[in-house]
């Protein structure tokens, strides 16, 4: 039952999509497009391989060749939406979350994807490399650069309150 297995991955797909699109609606659009593609070409899924990696690859491709062009750039960072979490957590945790979201939005696409896969979703390097369709060595150096860039953005953010 591929549909059930795909559905079980929806929360992780949504989280990954959120980390690369920032906007709830755009992220869900992306997941919807990816779900449709995945169900439409389920015969391309190779039994015994990781379904999550296959799905993340579909999301990545859907983002690059379809959804990215649709979103409005001015929606990229939507602080009012982030306010939804206020009250659940301490304001410090909330500030930290917003700082990370903002810094992520300033990363290059390439860096955001690798951070979304490895740091947000927690995929092993090998799987992340498979999703991005790049060699392990490229994944490692790209991830290191992406982390540097993100760390720098976060440090700048803290320096300017």
């Amino acid at each position: 039952m591929l549909a059930n297995e795909l559905a079980a991955l929806l929360p992780r797909m949504r989280r990954f999509a959120r980390s690369i699109t920032f906007h709830r609606e755009d992220a869900d659009d992306l997941v919807q497009v990816a779900m449709e593609r995945a169900l439409g070409r389920s015969e391309q899924y190779a039994e015994g391989t990781r379904l999550d990696s296959w799905l993340f690859r579909i999301i990545k491709n859907a983002w690059i060749d379809e959804v990215r062009g649709r979103i409005r750039r001015d929606r990229i960072f939507a602080p009012e939406e982030e306010g939804a979490h206020v009250g659940v957590d301490s304001s410090e945790a909330q500030q930290q979350r917003m700082a990370v979201h903002k810094a992520m939005s300033l990363l290059s696409e390439e860096h955001r994807l690798v951070i979304g896969l490895v740091l947000v979703d927690g995929l092993p390097y090998k799987e992340a490399a498979a999703v991005l369709e790049i060699p392990m060595g490229t994944l490692t150096s790209r991830l290191a650069r992406a982390r540097d860039a993100l760390q720098k953005l976060l440090s700048d953010e803290r320096a300017v309150p």
Binding site: D28, H101, A144, L154
Partner: protein, 244 residues
Amino acid sequence: MNYSDEILMAYADGELAEPQRSEVEAAVRADPALASIVDGHRALRRDVSAAFAGVLDEPVPARLQAPGTAKVLSFEAARSARARTQAAAPVTKRTWPKWAALAATVVVGVLAGGVWMDAGKGDSLVSADAGGRMTARGELAGALSQQLASEASPGSAVRIGVSFATRDGGYCRSFSVGARAGLACRDGEAWRVPVLTETAAAAGEYRQAASAPQAVLEAIDERIAGTTLDAAAERAARERGWKP
């Protein structure tokens, strides 16, 4: 010894294989500058992960749900709610049966010996000697030595279930890796694996297969002295290198 930032990053992410992992670990222990780099990588990972963790708890919009999948989705929601509760509370012995009831997995066999290969990854997590005794290796061995049950390790494929002191004064830890679950007990510098089970989990649900199969529960009951270690005791045991 100097290590590149990429090596230190991979170490922080639990991505190094032995023997390199142990070499870097020793260097990091000896050099506060290296330790600080590793801590930086882990802190960033934690912050980024935390910044998006809330999405997992949101209800999935109906438009994304394919027909006939509601049951699975509620299972997923229940699982993440459960995981949060467990992360917040000290792990006790009685949490295991709850996990077992939650996960929709079936034990299909207990592997009694022989070299067991992780078919999905193509690398071996345990080795077996001529007598069929299994020993953890690679990522599993590293995780057993380093990961805490009381702390999330998002970068690791290995989940630690519970840690406990045994009646003969040693330590054992239950674990799961994908659809496999088992018990590992410290023996000198190695982790012996007296029981390893494989569960039939749906593809793609590898992270959810965190139940403790009956065989593992029984192996725990056979060995445990008192209750499971709380977070502080577990950390202290790790600091001592899991020596009695």
